[in-house]
């Protein structure tokens, strides 16, 4: 790791030298006063020069190392730096930078510990610090888990502040005016006489200074950018067709190609006959790669045609060929030796249920695909002394490791150029596009190669969400929920993912019971047990990960118990709630939706609440049961992220999350037959289209003590809120996604 950091530093210095007297500022020192001291001990000697700000004589460049796949994280990161650096949008450029251990993401840690997010005890905070320190040592540069904002919030403002004060010091030395009499704005230092020195003009001087560190961060009341509506940096490009995505990247002399790998994911290709394909006009090469072939041609369309013309002999899948067998394995995993965790056990569930009239429920969540609008792709050029890869990836340092394993180059010779991504939803945590492209480019050294997955191939190779089931047993008394014994069995998407990285998960997989075990309800007797289903088809992180199934299981079961108790769904959730920030979110959604007001016939209203990624989110869905099916009329959604960095983007991500959650719960699943996914394009797996989209009303609260991200938390409550609303309108309980297996939608 030390080596990688050294390389990154050198490349920055080289970069700045090339830009004529540039200077790279890096600032972050772990200095959060409320942290457990363990974190500081591990930090010793670690955070020295972690560059986010590069000023040359010509330009200010902000390094925004979190991958932007549409969530707007480049703008968010830039705004945090710019707030303290006193530069405006339009006065700087951004770069995703080269992969570096310096860009480790400590905010990922909080999801992996067996402490509820509402638990701020010493033990809980200690464990989070230790996990955070481990991630820091590993140098894990990861975009995911709705962690980019919490990871960046202090760090990047500190980077901006350090750069600003260092530039002021340079201005002071040049002008003889004390630093205390200097001001900054619009990318320049202002002197008392009214003149100014542009940052770019100070770059060469500042490069000779030790960066000023430990600069106090400004009070939020003085902010001019953060918390205000922003105009995203990419909005004009994305509205004019001028944004360059990974799939658009072009090099002179580049061959266009595609890939075909065994649709029984992970199984080998026994053999193939490419005679017909190789005879096609415009086909340049058919190359073997791991588990498949790459076809190179003059254009992508020809490559697609040629890949179809090859006869393949695919080996059988390592997992069950038929979907029923997958469900059978899940259903038989509720046994002691598959117990993964029992992190919640309040009261005594066994005693409370003994002899009581109990309600028993079984819920199911299927495999679902990611399928961002931009199919996965990559461009690679391999020569004997360096490798360049252009693609979008959420873990670029792991991508570098994968590339090195194929080509034999060392990390210093590998340049990974992260690109804007046309969506991800977790898809770009996997490596198939990169490894296929590099395997082919390594056989064609010197020739740049672009590989584009066809939509069908993207579906065939997509590592889906986990499949899972829950079994609940509960009891009610005197109009109240008194006991809930919740068992959840899913495959472990974390172990599946880490296995492909050659790593194992130390301890239980928190994602099996995410959205369930940590919910801030004081049900007197409440137990949540996780059962790890043995690996079936490979799975990965799908937007909101475990909580996308766990939230559905836990909230719907609670809703059933509340109805059995004869209580009001909102009132009983509020009565059980033991966390003030969450309570206010539920109250807000109740007010917004005018909960309790009369609805006409054939109409229904459902509420759901799920705390995930540290963010409490409540949603109310209103539906009408029409002659042609269920119509979703309106959705109200409230969430508390502590502080909203950009209200417009917050609103956009909240609505997008609701639509993602509803659309897949209604319409989408992946099923296997003969070892292959049966869904191959959008007509069999489309999420939601515009005609089904309800009106959505959003409210953001800022009562939480920590700053959190909003990419994923709106998803888990969407499915249960809809299922609960359908029950209210029709009396029909739907306990399996996708709901359209059981009811029609307009």
């Amino acid at each position: 790791m030390g080596k990688a950091r050294t390389i990154a530093r050198r490349s920055f210095l080289v970069g700045s030298a090339a830009l004529a007297g540039g200077v790279a500022f890096g600032t972050y020192v772990v200095r959060r006063p409320h942290d457990n001291p363990l974190a500081d001990q591990v930090a010793d000697g670690e955070a020295t020069f972690n560059p986010w700000v590069l000023v040359s004589s010509e330009a200010i460049t902000l390094i925004v190392p979190h991958a932007d796949t549409g969530q707007g994280v480049a703008s968010m990161q830039a705004a945090l730096i710019a707030e303290e650096l006193d530069i405006e949008f339009g006065q700087f450029q951004t770069s995703f930078g080269q992969p570096s251990a310096a860009y480790y993401n400590t905010a990922m840690a909080s999801e992996a510990v067996p402490f509820m997010p509402t638990d701020k005890s010493f033990a809980a905070e200690t464990m989070r610090s230790v996990m955070g320190a481990a991630i820091k040592v590993l140098g894990a540069q990861v975009t995911g888990g709705s962690s980019s904002t919490p990871d960046s919030y202090d760090k990047l403002r500190a980077a901006g502040a350090s750069a600003r004060e260092t530039l002021k010091l340079a201005a002071s030395q040049r002008s003889g005016v004390p630093v205390s009499e200097l001001n900054t704005s619009n990318g320049a230092v202002q002197l008392p006489d009214g003149s100014e020195l542009k940052y770019t003009a100070l770059a060469a001087d500042a490069a000779k200074l030790e960066p000023v560190t430990d600069v106090p961060l400004r009070d939020p009341s003085t902010w001019r950018m953060v918390g205000q509506d922003m105009k995203r940096l990419d909005v004009v490009a994305k509205s004019t067709g001028t944004m360059g995505y990974g799939i658009d990247f072009y090099l002179d002399g580049m061959l266009n190609g595609t890939v075909r790998m065994n649709p029984r994911k992970g199984a080998p290709l026994n053999g193939y006959d490419a005679t017909a394909a190789e005879a096609m006009k415009g086909v340049r090469k058919v190359l073997p790669i791991t588990n498949g072939v790459v076809v190179l041609a003059d254009n992508t369309w020809t490559a697609f045609q040629a890949a179809d013309a090859i006869d393949y002999d695919w080996a059988p899948a390592a997992y069950p060929a038929e979907q029923d067998a997958h469900w059978n394995v899940v259903a038989s995993s509720f046994v002691d030796d598959r117990l993964d965790s029992e992190w919640r056990n309040d009261g005594d569930v066994d005693v409370a249920l003994d002899g009581a009239k109990t309600l028993e429920m079984e819920y199911r969540a299927p495999y679902v695909a990611h399928q961002p609008m931009e199919p996965i792709s990559a461009v690679a050029k391999v020569t004997d002394d360096r490798v360049d890869v252009w693609a979008t990836h959420q873990m670029p340092r792991f991508a570098v490791d994968k590339i090195a394993a194929i080509t034999g180059h060392n990390a210093a010779q590998i340049y990974f150029h992260n690109q804007y991504g046309g969506g991800s939803f977790g898809h770009r945590l996997e490596f198939e596009n990169i490894t296929a492209t590099v395997e082919a480019a390594n056989q064609m050294r010197g020739t740049p190669i672009k590989i584009t997955f066809s939509r069908e191939e993207d579906f065939a190779q997509d590592f889906t969400r986990q499949i899972g089931m829950s079994r609940s047993k509960g009891a009610v008394k005197d109009g109240k929920v008194i006991a809930h014994d919740l068992q959840i069995a899913t495959v472990s998407s974390s172990r599946s993912q880490m296995g492909r990285l050659g790593q194992s998960l130390p301890g239980p997989d928190s994602q099996i019971v995410a959205g369930a075990w940590e919910q801030p309800y004081s049900i007197p007797n409440f137990r949540v047990r996780a059962y790890a289903v043995p690996e079936l088809a490979p799975t990965s992180s799908w937007r909101s990960v475990g909580a996308s199934s766990g939230g559905f299981f836990s909230d719907c079961a609670l809703d059933e118990l509340i109805h059995a108790a004869g209580a009001d769904p909102l009132e009983e959730r509020l009565r059980l709630m033991n966390h003030d920030v969450s309570r206010k979110v539920l109250e807000a959604v109740g007010e917004m939706s005018n909960w309790g007001s009369a609805l006409g016939p054939n109409r229904g209203r459902g509420v759901a609440f799920v705390l995930s990624f540290g963010v409490p989110v409540a949603e109310v869905v209103e539906v009408t049961n029409t002659d042609s099916g269920i119509k979703i009329d309106k959705v109200w959604v409230a969430a508390d992220v502590g502080r909203i960095v950009d209200p417009i983007n917050f609103d956009n991500l909240m609505k997008g999350g609701v639509i993602w959650g509803l659309g897949h719960a209604m319409n989408s699943e992946i099923t296997y037959s003969d070892g292959m996914a049966e869904q191959s394009n959008f007509y069999t797996h489309e999420g939601m289209r515009l005609n089904q989209c309800p009106e959505i009303f959003v409210k953001g609260l800022e009562n939480g003590s920590a700053v959190k991200g909003i990419g994923e938390p709106p998803i888990p409550p969407a499915a249960p809120a809809l299922a609960n609303a359908i029950f209210a309108a029709t009396g029909q309980r739907i306990r399996e996604m996708p709901f359209n297996k059981h009811i029609d939608f307009v």
């Binding site: 992508t300 369309w301 939803f425 489309e686 515009l690």
Partner: protein, 151 residues
């Protein structure tokens, strides 16, 4: 063969059955038009042929009759089309990958129907898939663009 894209004539040496989408992207490096599904399920490849919205993944180059307009020809960052202005004003895009097709579809809708009802918008725009969930903003942007047309 000769084709006209965004007012410029190009000589194209491609098989007659090659879809316009891939001629634009791989032969002419006009990449604002996007590949999404290849089977007219998503609308990311929508362009105009003589002003009409067409899924370019389904139009063989040999069958092309008329002038092609892509998102780059609708307007540019320095000279925005009013649909693009509305898209920017409402900050519609998240990942943005589908938005070229969405805007081409919306421009075609408004040229035929300058005052679309909610139902008209749903009918015209539901063939264009967005996976980020920008539909509420797409609706708002189409409406505000239509409102500007009235002025």
């Amino acid at each position: 063969m000769k084709i006209t894209v965004n007012g410029r004539s190009h000589d194209v040496d491609a098989p007659a059955e090659m879809p316009l989408l891939w001629v634009l992207r791989d032969e002419l490096q006009i990449t604002g038009v996007k590949y999404g599904c290849g089977i007219a399920q998503c609308g990311a490849c929508t362009v105009h042929v003589d002003g009409e919205a067409v899924r370019s993944c389904q139009l063989a180059i040999g069958d092309l009759e008329g002038d092609v307009t892509t998102i780059e020809g609708l307007g540019t960052p320095d000279a925005l089309h009013f649909i693009q202005e509305a898209w920017i004003e409402h900050q519609v895009a998240q990942c943005g990958y589908c938005q070229s097709g969405q805007m081409m579809q919306a421009a075609s809708l408004l040229s035929e129907n300058p005052a679309p009802s909610d139902e008209d918008i749903d009918d015209a725009m539901s063939g264009n898939l967005c996976r980020c969930g920008t539909y509420p903003r797409i609706r708002a942007a189409v409406k505000s663009a239509a409102a500007k047309l009235e002025l």
